[in-house]
């Protein structure tokens, strides 16, 4: 299936970088985090205790500070390393309503039992 967007944590971004394209057909990923900085055309999300990710926004991305967002985007180079070029975002409201640990376990499960979720 062409439309797969693996769920990841910041530490996994390098595996989906276009330069690693041989290993993965896709460099489109899905990540979850809380919006902690907005700077016009870029933003930062904090992914639980797993660090921050810089997002390159689209003109029509409407992120709000302090909200939990699920981001679908392509792994891209930003100033200090890797970031995500946003394709779409989903607002999930108050970060307190979501247990980030569960998400970490989901990411873990999707990579461990890959055949259930993603093509090789």
């Amino acid at each position: 299936m062409s439309l797969q967007t693996p769920r990841v944590l910041p530490a996994h971004l390098h595996a989906f970088h276009p330069s690693n394209a041989s290993a993965h057909v896709t460099n489109t990923v899905r990540i979850l985090g809380t919006v902690t900085a907005l700077r016009g055309d870029t933003a930062t999300i904090t992914c639980g205790n797993n660090g921050d990710v810089t997002l390159i926004l689209k003109p029509d991305s409407h992120l709000q500070m302090g909200r939990l967002v699920e981001v679908v985007g392509k792994v891209a180079d930003v100033d200090q390393g890797l970031g995500i070029r946003v394709l779409g975002t989903t607002d999930w409201g108050n970060p307190a309503d979501c247990d980030y640990k569960i998400y970490e376990n989901v990411v873990n499960a999707t990579h461990r039992f890959k055949s259930v979720f993603y093509d090789a």
């Binding site: 797969q4 989903t90 499960a109 259930v116």
Partner: protein, 273 residues
């Protein structure tokens, strides 16, 4: 008629009448109504599901699937006169979902209730239904599509789908071969407690076998029985599996020499050694 047939012939008509019905009836004993299980899956699993012949039930991880449910993001909604078609994407794939509009309830509060039609584009939804084919296209015929508003439910669903996948591929928690994966998710402590009697499979180095064969072996191992063992039809009934699957599993176990046939070819007992 479907459901009556399988039982009637398995008990009343004897093995001879049962087997041909099982394999030649095009709509099969297993279609609608008989398999009332509800299984959590990912969309990739729905797309990868295999079908023995048209109209047969789909198989995922070697197990029949009846009803399924999954969680995903709604990419498109198109309302037609007889149905609403959704395109759902859960990150593992994309599939079309058709929900038929029931004309009997369409006029009443159900579909016109603004509170109910909260499934929106790019929002998340939980879909309950059955995998169907139309021509070469696979879709899900759904009787319930409802919005999901808590992200934990989405994540929980993926973990559930994984747990069920592991159940079918590695056997029940604490059962055969659970040492590898299932223990990790379920917590090793819990698995150990129930493992005692059962896990001596892997210790004795059982050969690799299909999930169905594992279940048959497990039943033979645990079910109270005389030294004649169990008849294949009894096994089929106990595991609610179709006879051909049990027969195949039996062949597999016979070939690998872990069971042997006793009073006749269809009655098996564990080969202790």
């Amino acid at each position: 008629m479907d459901s009556g047939y399988g039982y009637g012939s398995s008990y009343g008509g004897g093995g001879g009448g049962f087997m041909p019905g099982e394999t030649s009836s095009p709509s099969g004993r297993r279609s609608d109504g008989n398999n009332t299980t509800l299984r959590p899956i990912t969309i990739k699993q729905a797309l990868d599901a295999t079908q023995q012949h048209p109209e047969a039930d789909f198989h995922i991880d070697g197990a029949d699937v009846g009803n399924i449910y999954f969680v995903g993001q709604v990419r498109n909604i198109s309302t037609q006169s007889t149905n609403v078609t959704y395109r759902i994407d859960d990150g593992t794939g994309e599939i079309e979902v058709k929900q038929w509009i029931d004309s009997a309830t369409a006029d009443t509060m159900d579909t016109n209730d603004p509170k109910k039609s909260q499934v929106v584009n790019n929002g998340y939804a939980k879909v309950f239904g059955k995998i169907k084919m139309f021509g070469n296209k696979r879709f899900v015929g759904s009787h319930c599509v409802r919005p999901v508003s808590n992200l934990n439910e989405v994540h929980c669903h993926f973990l559930e789908a994984t747990a069920v996948h592991l159940f079918f591929t590695k056997g029940p928690v604490g059962g055969a071969g659970s040492a590898g994966g299932a223990g990790a998710g379920a917590g090793a402590g819990g698995a150990d407690a129930t493992m005692g009697g059962v896990d001596d499979y892997s210790a004795r180095g059982l050969p690799a076998m299909s999930p169905v064969a594992k279940r048959v072996y497990h039943l033979l191992k645990t079910e109270p029985q005389s030294n004649e063992g169990l008849h294949a039809q009894l096994i089929a009934a106990k595991l609610s599996l179709p006879m051909p699957d049990v027969a195949r599993a039996g062949d597999e176990l016979l070939t690998s020499g872990v069971i042997f046939s006793t009073v006749d070819e269809q009655t098996w007992a564990i080969l202790e050694y």
